[in-house]
């Protein structure tokens, strides 16, 4: 079959270490026989280190599934996924949990924080769970970067939606993970709060050298990324570097039209 195999072009750094995560021939299918639904169809992808990658696509294109698989939250039907040099496909739950705890950061669309913990406790939670001491200086820098100084003792219910997402960003950054995955992190925010959060993500890539993968359907959000991957029907169908919101929107309209004519 003619799967859309991508030969990813290298980012600025080049070489193996430039790739933070890789997917090779990843298939994710649900059900079997007549009712089999393929969410990911032999996907190959490289996530560049120190870059901000956005994954776009219409509903049901498989973009969230791809992210979940890359992050070790979901299992694949076949294929291989590597985080740096570690193959994570086939790992047992215990190892996967450790991996998520120590090497991956998450920002979800909503409900990112534990209501019983205050902002600071939420930020340091992954390290607490791991039994590691947070790096004070780094923590301060992160907190400052996302502008939460002075709100650290607040409980999530005492924070606005934007502030809550900033806490989530800080949590993802604080443990210095190799890679941060965002699942529509601004999906629930108004445009101003969203822009703020995206700005922090951008800064963390530029200033802290963080690797970020973000799933979104918002062209404006995608325009903050270095590179945009387009998914349709479980395949990567296109990509774009240094996008602007207009370009992304045009490209999506283009797919939409093609999808309708085909």
């Amino acid at each position: 079959m003619t799967s859309a195999v991508m030969i990813p072009r290298h980012g600025g750094t080049g070489g193996r270490t430039a790739v933070a995560a890789r997917a090779r021939q990843v298939v994710k299918a649900y059900g079997s026989g007549e009712t089999r639904v393929v969410a990911l169809d032999s996907v190959d992808v490289d996530v560049a280190r120190g870059r901000f990658t956005a994954i776009m696509g219409p509903s049901g294109s498989g973009k969230s599934t791809l992210m979940h698989c890359l992050a070790g939250l979901d299992t694949v039907t076949s294929g291989h996924i590597y985080l740096d040099d570690t193959e994570i496909t086939g790992l047992k739950d215990k190892k996967l949990t450790q991996l998520r705890r120590d090497r991956i950061g998450f920002i979800f669309q909503a409900f990112n924080l534990l209501p019983t913990l205050n902002a600071l406790e939420n930020i340091t939670l992954p390290m607490d769970i791991a039994g590691r001491k947070p790096d004070r200086a780094w923590l301060e820098r992160v907190v400052e970067t996302v502008g939460l100084t002075g709100r650290l003792k607040h409980r999530p219910t005492q924070l606005s939606g934007g502030q809550q997402q900033r806490v989530a960003v800080a949590r993802a950054l604080a443990a210095r993970p190799e890679i941060i995955f965002g699942d529509e992190p601004t999906g629930n925010l108004d445009s101003r709060a969203g822009a703020e959060v995206l700005g922090f993500l951008r800064r963390s890539v530029d200033e802290l050298g963080q690797t970020i993968v973000m799933v979104t359907h918002d062209p404006v959000a995608a325009s903050y990324a270095d590179r945009v991957l387009y998914l349709a029907d479980g395949r990567i169908v296109d990509e774009m570097y240094q996008p602007t919101a207009e370009q992304v929107l045009d490209r999506m309209k283009d797919f939409d039209a093609r999808g309708r004519t085909s």
Partner: protein
């Protein structure tokens, strides 16, 4: 209609979440129904037996009991002369009259001197094989007894002890020991619940049981055709006069039934009381369940309100769910109750008490009561959560539900709870310092009730404080997982409070009773140490008297310095204030008793009470009747004349042993009671010669080998026996309280399980950011342990307070020593932590198994 439909759908959709509430209702209802079915079945069984065994009319001696039971303190049954039979035959309407001899003051042993008595505590009956019994029994094998060498045994006893024809058995009576071989085995046509019955021929029975022929204990009279039992009774009374007791079959059966009833009622109401406690605990569980269901459904309810449902409709929809739960739980409970009753009957079978499932009695009131109780309690418990559901604003539909807002325990609650607790504490203080036991017990009851309600009301506030302390002490060790567990337990103090309170109730009772029980043992031991000056006590453990042969055997034992006989006599007293007090008991003993048991007196010395024509009375009696030293009391003995005795000692009421006894010497009593009517000894006190205690103890034991019904104990054994007895009683009560505790543990499981469902997204999030399954399970277990330990702390604290108050109050009655059984208390405390671990097993397992992605995506 729609309301009903939503209720039904909700009920079905959330049946998993209601499962544990249903189990709680089921257990409580099952216990109630089981108790009723079991006692009703016992009633039926005995009723059938009494109906079957009574003859139309029965004649017995005036002093015989109404139930026809033939025991007396002389060890020999009350008899009537053989001539009565002839007279009765002469009465009108008599078809037949037969004299029989029966006694229950008998010990039967096999060739190895092992007792053949039922271990159920049922009676051992020895009597003459007669026409009336032949009606209700059939000889299964062998022949009826003939001559002094033969005895017939009932089939159940034969089964139990593997008795065959030709086996030798010994019948030990006040007359002596009679040996005979089994000639036959007779089976009852109705269920014989537990009596061991041995038949001799009439002459042998007379000689063995009474010591002479020509006397009977009963005359069984059957009516001629067309003569009613009442008429027959009148005719018999017409010829006999009023010198004998004449009863119809119905009167005998009724008297038996009445005696049984009083025993069964005690059992029934005790068990129903424990079922009530279980219901009370179950209420907490149901309230929690519905509170959580309503909280989880807030948005849904808001939507219903937004599209036009009235408060009342929402309220009612929750109550209808409760109704469905109550009905489901109760129906299952009724079924389980019948099962429980059958189980109990089987258990009784293990303890030599035979009950047949043929007699299983389920009165229509049993399921009706079970259903009513289950449904009413469930609906009442759901009332508050339902009201809260009605108060949900339509705006709730629009709000992002998120985590349910933590319910802040209100100031009203705090004030009310503290007021109640304070009032309760004051009542307890009043009880502890009461001058009179009667007023004190009222205060105690009030105090217990108020402190219990107070603790339940302030429970959520206490939960906040205590969980923090526990967190600081216990959970810090577990780092962030411990901290999250603490926060989770604190998240909804009302829920934690209610869950802990449910456990508190059962454990408070355990703690209170253990304190009282152990104080009883300690006080009695203390008093024994202070008062007992003798080495050994001989007694029959079922309260029967000691035969003269056994007394002689004890007296002949080498190495003893003295033996004190001790017997009880019924008497009617006429006091100096001119009042007559019937049914009093005189404790007659040898004068050496004053040395054996140093009884504290408030006036005079007990030794003087043993002088000729002297006696002692107890403090309360003396006060009530204005008796002083030197007063004269007229004592009319039941089986003898009237004595005018001078009071020479007044004993203190601060006693645990022999409280309220009135003493006189046997020599004094013997002047007024004829020798053949003189009761046998109840107790023997034996004192060894100086330095020969060990040898004397062994010698006594071997002297009593021939009389396996009597036990000799030295002081250590006696104390141990006392301890064992109280321990057994406590264990029984703990066993019954276990039901309430099980329901409370279900409550902990329920709270955790529902919390896990409620926190699905949180759990998903934590798992996503790296919380391992093991850590997640530990977090839930720790939360569970914290709740359980919180309940235990409250319960044990409250219970020890109650127990200590009760002891202070009972100190007036001689319970001088407060003994807190720390091993039990610590055991319960540590046990509760394990209970917490156990309760978290399933919820933790389920939480750990959750799919991370699905959990995050949950609404």
């Amino acid at each position: 209609m729609t309301v009903l439909k939503t209720s039904m759908r909700n009920f079905v959709a959330h049946k998993g979440r209601m499962a544990l509430s249903a189990v709680a209702v089921l257990l409580s209802v099952a216990f109630v129904c089981g108790t009723l079915v079991f006692t009703d079945t016992m009633n039926t069984t005995f009723d059938k037996l009494f109906q079957a065994t009574a003859s139309d009319v029965q004649v017995s001696a005036k002093s015989a009991s109404d139930t026809g039971e033939t025991t007396s303190r002389t060890g020999k049954p009350p008899v009537l002369p053989a001539s009565v039979v002839g007279k009765v035959r002469g009465a009108q309407g008599v078809r037949s009259a037969e004299g029989t001899v029966f006694s229950t003051s008998v010990t039967v042993v096999d060739a190895d001197k092992d007792k053949l008595s039922p271990s159920s505590g049922g009676p051992t009956i020895v009597g003459s094989w007669n026409g009336n019994d032949a009606r209700t029994m059939e000889i299964a094998s062998g022949t009826a007894p003939k001559g002094p060498g033969q005895v017939m045994v009932d089939a159940d006893t034969a089964d139990r002890h593997q008795l065959k024809r030709g086996d030798e058995i010994g019948l030990i009576t006040a007359v002596g020991t009679h040996h005979a071989r089994v000639s036959g085995i007779a089976a009852f046509k109705v269920t014989n619940p537990g009596a061991a019955i041995f038949y001799l021929d009439t002459r042998t029975a007379q000689q063995t049981l009474v010591g002479r022929t020509g006397v009977y204990t009963n005359v069984n009279v059957t009516a001629a055709k067309g003569v009613s039992d009442e008429q027959l009774k009148k005719n018999v009374v017409a010829v006999l006069g009023h010198d004998y007791k004449v009863q119809t079959a119905k009167e005998v059966a009724d008297a038996n039934q009445k005696q049984l009833q009083s025993f069964l009622d005690v059992m029934k109401y005790a068990m129903l009381g424990f079922a009530g406690i279980a219901f009370l605990v179950g209420i907490f569980l149901i309230v929690n369940t519905f509170s959580m269901l309503v909280a989880q459904r807030t948005r849904e309810i808001g939507l219903l309100r937004a599209i036009g449902s009235s408060r009342k409709q929402v309220n009612r929809s929750v109550l209808v769910e409760a109704l469905l739960l109550g009905v489901a739980g109760s129906v299952l409970g009724v079924g389980a109750g019948v099962g429980l009753a059958i189980g109990l009957m089987k258990l009784m079978g293990q303890m030599d008490m035979k009950l047949s499932t043929d007699d299983l009695t389920v009165a229509w009131t049993t399921p009706a009561l079970g259903l009513l109780l289950g449904v009413v309690v469930t609906v009442l418990a759901a009332y508050l959560p339902a009201r809260r559901a009605g108060k949900v604003s339509p705006m709730a539909a629009l709000r992002d539900a998120g985590a349910p807002a933590d319910a802040r325990a209100g100031a009203v609650r705090a004030v009310l709870g503290l007021l109640l607790t304070a009032a309760g504490g004051w009542s307890l203080y009043a009880a502890a310092t009461a001058e009179k036991a009667k007023t004190g017990s009222g205060w105690l009851g009030l105090g217990v009730l108020l402190t219990l309600i107070g603790f339940v009301v302030v429970g959520p506030l206490l939960a906040g404080a205590l969980v923090r302390v526990l967190g600081a002490v216990l959970l810090r060790v577990f780092g962030p997982v411990g901290r999250m567990a603490e926060r989770n337990a604190l998240r909804n103090p009302r829920r934690t409070g209610a869950t802990g309170a449910a456990l508190m109730i059962g454990l408070a009772l355990v703690a209170c009773l253990s304190v009282v029980g152990s104080s009883m043992v300690a006080s009695a031991t203390d008093q024994l140490d202070k008062t007992v000056g003798t080495d050994f006590i001989v007694q029959e453990d079922n309260g029967q008297v000691i035969t003269k042969q056994a007394v002689q055997a004890v007296k002949d034992t080498p190495g003893l310095a003295r033996v004190t006989e001790y017997k009880l006599l019924d008497a009617t007293l006429t006091t100096p204030d001119g009042r007559t007090v019937p049914k009093e008991t005189i404790n007659a003993a040898d004068p050496t008793y004053a040395q054996d048991v140093r009884t504290k007196t408030v006036a005079g010395s007990l030794a003087d009470a043993y002088r000729p024509d002297s006696m002692s009375v107890f403090e309360g009696f003396a006060k009530e009747h204005g008796i002083k030293l030197g007063s004269t009391v007229a004592v009319r003995f039941e089986d003898g004349g009237t004595a005018k005795l001078t009071v020479r000692a007044i004993t203190s009421d601060e006693a645990v042993v022999d409280k309220g006894a009135m003493y006189a010497s046997i020599a004094t009593v013997a002047k007024y009671v004829p020798a053949d009517r003189m009761p046998l000894d109840d107790l023997l006190f034996a004192t060894a010669k100086e330095g020969q205690e060990k040898a004397a103890y062994q010698a006594l034991k071997s002297a009593l080998h021939e009389f396996p019904q009597y036990t000799v104990r030295d002081q250590t054994d006696y104390k141990q026996e006392l301890k064992d007895q109280i321990g057994q009683l406590l264990n029984m009560i703990y066993g019954l309280l276990a039901l309430a505790i099980i329901v409370a543990v279900l409550g902990v499981v329920n709270t955790l399980a529902l919390s896990v469902v409620e926190r699905t997204r949180e759990i998903g999030l934590m798992r996503a950011i790296g919380l391992s399954r093991r850590q997640l399970r530990r977090m839930i277990r720790l939360e569970s342990v914290v709740i359980a330990v919180f309940g235990a702390l409250l319960g044990l604290g409250l219970g020890m307070g109650w127990g200590a108050t009760a002891q202070k109050l009972l100190a007036l009655e001689g319970l001088k020593v407060l003994d807190i059984p720390w091993p039990t208390i610590t055991g319960v405390f540590i046990g509760s932590a394990f209970v917490g671990l156990f309760a978290a097993l399933v919820p933790a397992f389920r939480a750990a198994r959750m799919n991370v992605l699905r959990a995050i995506a949950t609404d």
